[in-house]
Amino acid sequence: LGTTVKYHEQELVSLLKAREEKSFAYLYDNYSGALHSIILQVIPDQELASDVLQEAFVNIWRKIESYDSSKGRLFTWMLNVARNLAIDMLRSKGYQNSRKNQEFPDPVYFEHVAGSTQLSVDNIGLRKAVEKLKSEHRVLIDLAYFKGYTHEEIAELEKMPLGTVKTRIRTALTQLRSILA
């Protein structure tokens, strides 16, 4: 790794659209860690998170044509691609079933889970910022952002009026902005 190139976003996007290999390399080197982090915050299982990360990069590469810079930064778009894929995985049948299986008292598997494959995700990425919120706000952000529930689903889950869910999430989000800034 000799020369460090720094692309402007616009430049990078046109290189990506031109399917230049060096643009992929740049994208990966600069963003894989951040995207890996957001995926892990949704899917704590490292192996599954790796699968999602791979899928995310393939999707970003293929769907770069649909990225519209007037609607946000490239990173914002990629972050949402990664989060959406992770949530798809989280809500898939296969994943739900593997969760259920873990509840069986299989000592070998248990050790495996408790040992190396799962990270404590409370201390990474956005979750670290979310941890600083009041618990009533934290729960709602967890459901909405990290679990992908709609406001309507949350209202039902938390037995709360839809209006309250919306207001609390908005309040939590503005607080999150000041934490991030």
Partner: protein
């Protein structure tokens, strides 16, 4: 619109983090093009999100970069000339998606139509089946009646053939005082000496009783067999009687008697 209030409402974070509803997104995008301060606030939040995320990055597993590139190049080389040059938009996707959409719509229409037709034909089938079953039952009944008639006709025809036979001696038995209007007829084959009886107009016996034919031979009654009154007028074959002067019918207990009850004589005729 109070744009300051809108900016601090949480909509920016909601939009950027992908939590806004489609309507909210649309409204937000419109306002971004209208209010530069909103756009600036959005970009500021995006930047702080990106910086924070980069600071919190978790390195991806080793070897993943090469794996992903391999998958990308493999998939890219397959669609053929699709390595579209820079600036050339790929119109292939939307058209294909539309094509699928039409195909899906057509499939659904076909499915619905087919389901409705299935219901319609099933009803038709149920109706036809019921009609078929009733027709089949009718046919069975008709066939049964036909067989009965056939048998009856065959009996009558064979009776008529025998009555018409020139070798048959015909002996009319006339009603006795007990039943003056009764008539019976004996057909006696001269060669075989077989006796056939046409019961004629005997009254229907009470239960437990049966008619018995007697041949009078040398002044003495000889049993020629018992008989029942059938539904049809047919000849009933009785016992073989080689020789007789007269025939008579009495009403006896069921199964017949050894000697006739003379008071219960209904008809009689001499040869």
């Amino acid at each position: 619109v109070n744009i300051e209030q809108y900016i601090s409402s949480g909509i920016i974070e909601s939009y950027v983090l992908g939590l806004a509803s489609p309507e909210e997104r649309l409204e937000f995008e419109q306002r971004c093009s209208q209010y530069p301060e909103l756009l600036a606030a959005r970009e500021a939040f995006e930047l702080s999100l990106e910086q924070f995320s980069q600071a919190q990055a978790v390195p991806a597993p080793a070897g993943m970069k090469a794996r992903i590139w391999e998958e990308i190049s493999r998939a890219d080389s397959h669609p053929g000339k699709e390595k579209a040059g820079p600036g050339i938009p790929a119109p292939v996707r939307p058209i294909r998606r539309d094509w699928w959409r039409y195909l899906a719509a057509a499939s659904i229409i076909l499915l619905v139509t087919s389901t409705l037709l299935n219901i319609y034909f099933y009803r038709q089938y149920q109706g036809s089946l019921a009609r078929y079953e009733s027709l089949f039952a009718n046919t069975q009944e008709t066939a049964r009646q036909n067989r009965t008639l056939q048998t009856s006709l065959e009996n009558s025809q064979s009776s008529i053939r025998m009555m018409n036979d020139s070798n048959m001696a015909v002996i009319a038995l006339a009603g006795r005082p007990l039943s003056p209007s009764s008539r019976s007829t004996i057909y006696w084959d001269r060669r075989t000496k077989d006796v056939y009886l046409l019961a004629g107009s005997l009254p229907r016996p009470v239960s437990g009783k049966q008619y018995q034919l007697w041949a009078i031979v040398d002044g003495k009654p000889v049993d020629a067999g018992t008989f029942d009154l059938g539904p049809d007028l047919t000849l009933v074959r009785m016992k073989n009687i080689p020789r007789a002067e007269a025939f008579a019918i009495t009403l006896e207990k069921a199964g017949g008697s050894n000697s006739p009850t003379l008071e219960a004589m209904y008809v009689m005729g001499r040869i």
